[in-house]
């Protein structure tokens, strides 16, 4: 009797525990994912030419880091109008930290935004920070062509040739016209009696 009661007691207890945990999970889902927040910071480069290290830490409501989630880093830029320019994506470590390296393309204040898209367990969030850059990537320039000195003068040489051609055309035209006009016939129209009409083809036939 005692054994039976003990066996059923364990069974009931196990069922009750399962029911309670199911209820707890249901309550948790009903409450939604855990809120998160992001802190952003930047470390200046250690030497000239090296990038800034921008770090973000994402923590849950209880202050513990959220690991293995992707964070998207962007900066505010004025490129064909104000917009967010993506500068990279990194996955958080066990402490909820993620880092990217970034060499600014201009000097001055940089507004950094880090976004977390959210998961089933953790809510989406974003954080912002700023830093003032004293260094910047040199703007891209095409390698100088070895023929640059030569080709820069080429259009002028061609222009000289074009002008020479136009002068030659003008010389041929004006010279010929002047040569003919120097010996020109009287400006009067020929008398009707002097005109020799073209024969009519039908008459010729």
């Amino acid at each position: 009797m005692f054994d039976l009661a003990r066996r059923w007691g364990w069974t009931v207890a196990l069922a009750a525990a399962l029911a309670l945990s199911a209820l707890a999970a249901q309550a948790a889902v009903a409450a939604g994912p855990t809120p998160t927040r992001i802190q952003v910071g930047a470390d200046p480069p250690q030497a000239d030419g090296q990038p800034y290290v921008i770090e973000a830490r994402i923590v849950a409501a209880d202050g513990r880091g959220v690991n293995s989630v992707p964070l998207d880093f962007s900066i505010a830029a004025d490129f064909f109008g104000p917009r967010q320019l993506s500068i990279g994506r990194a996955t958080t470590d066990g402490q909820g930290r993620a880092q990217i390296s970034y060499l600014p393309s201009w000097q001055g204040r940089h507004e950094v935004t880090v976004k977390f898209a959210g998961t089933a367990a953790f809510a989406a969030s974003q954080g912002a920070g700023s830093f003032v850059s004293a260094v910047a990537l040199a703007p891209h320039r095409d390698a100088r062509s070895p023929l640059a000195d030569f080709s820069s003068g080429l259009p002028y040489a061609v222009a000289v040739i074009v002008v020479a051609v136009w002068l030659t055309i003008a010389f041929a035209l004006v010279g010929t016209v002047r040569g003919i006009l120097a010996d020109r016939a009287p400006a009067t129209a020929p008398a009707a009696a002097d005109l020799v009409p073209i024969p009519d083809p039908s008459e010729e036939a």
């Binding site: 061609v158 051609v165 035209l173 010929t176 003919i180 120097a182 073209i198 010729e204």
Partner: protein, 447 residues
């Protein structure tokens, strides 16, 4: 000096079409004008609806318009070169055909130069080329070269025309008293045929004949460089400029033969334009076709042997792929058959030369298509090949502009002699000093 009766016969033959036109003449003019009007309607439709009505697309953005530009400027080049080379080499058989060649050059150039404008969806933006020129742009230099060549071609056409305008002034009777008569009087510059005037004219025409050759070469070279300076298979080639120049001369000489045949038959110039002209122009066509074949073999052999990422697929498409029917139609029909036609000895010189010229002109148009379209359709990235099907708008504009050339020539020769009377007299005078080289037919006037 030519015999008086021979001269009169020649003058009558040259002036016969001027100011006159039977029902056959006017019906051809009306038919050509209708085709031109249809082409203009198609262009106005394109202007209203944009380039979307054409078959041009993101991958094949150069189609009929650019290939027509290259083709018609090439025709012009051939006309100018034929006349200039024959003048400079003092070829006596040139005299009856130089006017036709020079007029063909100007008419074809006017049509060819219009195509870059037609190719623009917003032709008003052409002004930007002048307002904001970029010295490093081949397009700017193309405009300069074509503009200079156009002016030179007009001067080259006008100067030898002066004595004939004087002839019109003196011989057209009462008809010269209107606006046309005033144009004859002003245009003839008071020509009397004095030694001083002849010397001045010979010098001016000589300078222009020398100048027109490098000018024409430069125009077609710049056109070729528009293609060659881009990194595309089939285009990026160091031989493209001379290849284009040779192709232009080939198609131009072909077109000159066709124009000469049409006008000599239509205007009854058979006594002056005969087997000699067709035989020599045929030889010129033969030499150019052989040289073009050599260039073509050189191009495809080197490209095909290397067969890199850009040229390999292009040559495969031309030789055995989707463009093979057009390629072999050009190679066999537009090169090999014309070479055989004009090289073979025997009778029917005129017929063979005209047929060869017709095949060459059609073949060279196909060749321009094979340069422009597959070069654009070949993908530069791992995408599909582009597709190009010309729309009714492009076909109509092409037909309309092609009809504009004979129309302009017919209207032009309604007012000026189709043969240069002055030049024929000059050549005849030289010939009289060298027996056996006469230009004028030795026969008595009819009647």
């Amino acid at each position: 000096m030519p015999d008086r009766s021979d001269r009169e016969q020649m003058v009558r033959a040259a002036l016969r079409p001027v100011g006159r036109g039977g029902w056959r003449y006017w019906s051809i003019v009306v038919a050509l004008a209708a085709l031109v009007a249809w082409g203009l309607y198609a262009y106005s439709y394109q202007l209203r609806h944009g380039l979307g009505v054409t078959g041009l697309n993101q991958k094949v953005s150069w189609g009929f318009y650019i290939l027509n530009c290259v083709f018609f400027i090439g025709i012009s080049y051939g006309g100018a070169m034929t006349s200039a080379i024959l003048r400079l080499t003092h070829a006596r058989w040139r005299a009856p055909i130089t006017r036709l060649a020079e007029a063909t050059a100007v008419a074809a150039l006017l049509v060819g130069a219009a195509y870059p404008l037609i190719d623009l969806g917003r032709p008003d933006r052409m002004l930007n080329l002048l307002l904001h020129p970029h010295a490093g742009s081949p397009v700017l230099w193309d405009l300069v070269a074509v503009g200079t060549y156009l002016v030179a071609s007009l001067v080259f056409l006008y100067l030898p025309l002066v004595p004939d305008l004087a002839l019109m002034r003196d011989r057209l009777g009462a008809g010269t008293r209107g606006l046309v008569g005033r144009l004859y009087r002003v245009g003839s510059l008071g020509w009397t045929g004095s030694d001083h005037q002849r010397q001045a004219l010979a010098l001016g025409v000589g300078i222009m004949a020398v100048l027109i050759i490098p000018l024409a070469v430069s125009v077609h070279s710049v056109l070729a460089w528009l293609f060659a300076v881009t990194v595309r298979g089939g285009w990026h080639s160091t031989i493209f400029a001379p290849y284009f120049v040779l192709g232009a001369m080939l198609s131009g000489v072909g077109a000159v033969i066709l124009v000469i045949a049409a006008f000599s038959r239509g205007y009854g110039l058979g006594d002056y334009v005969g087997p000699k002209q067709y035989r020599y122009l045929g030889y010129l066509l033969l030499a150019l076709a052989l040289a073009y074949t050599y260039f073509m073999i050189s191009e495809y052999l080197t490209d095909g042997y290397v067969a890199d990422q850009s040229s390999g697929p292009l040559i495969a498409a031309l030789f055995t792929g989707s463009y093979a029917p057009l390629f072999w139609a050009f190679t066999i029909g537009g090169l090999i058959v014309p070479i055989l036609l004009v090289a073979a000895p025997g009778r029917y010189v005129e017929g063979r030369a005209v047929l060869a010229a017709l095949l060459v002109v059609a073949g060279m148009w196909l060749k321009r298509f094979l340069i422009v379209v597959p070069g654009m359709a070949e993908p530069l990235m791992p995408w599909d090949w582009g597709v190009y099907h010309p729309s009714w708008v492009e076909i109509s504009i092409t037909i309309g502009t092609a009809a504009a050339i004979p129309l302009m020539l017919m209207l032009f020769f309604h007012f000026v002699p189709v043969m240069s009377v002055h030049e024929m007299e000059e050549v005849e005078s030289e010939s009289s000093r060298e027996p056996g080289a006469a230009v004028l037919p030795r026969r008595q006037p009819a009647g």
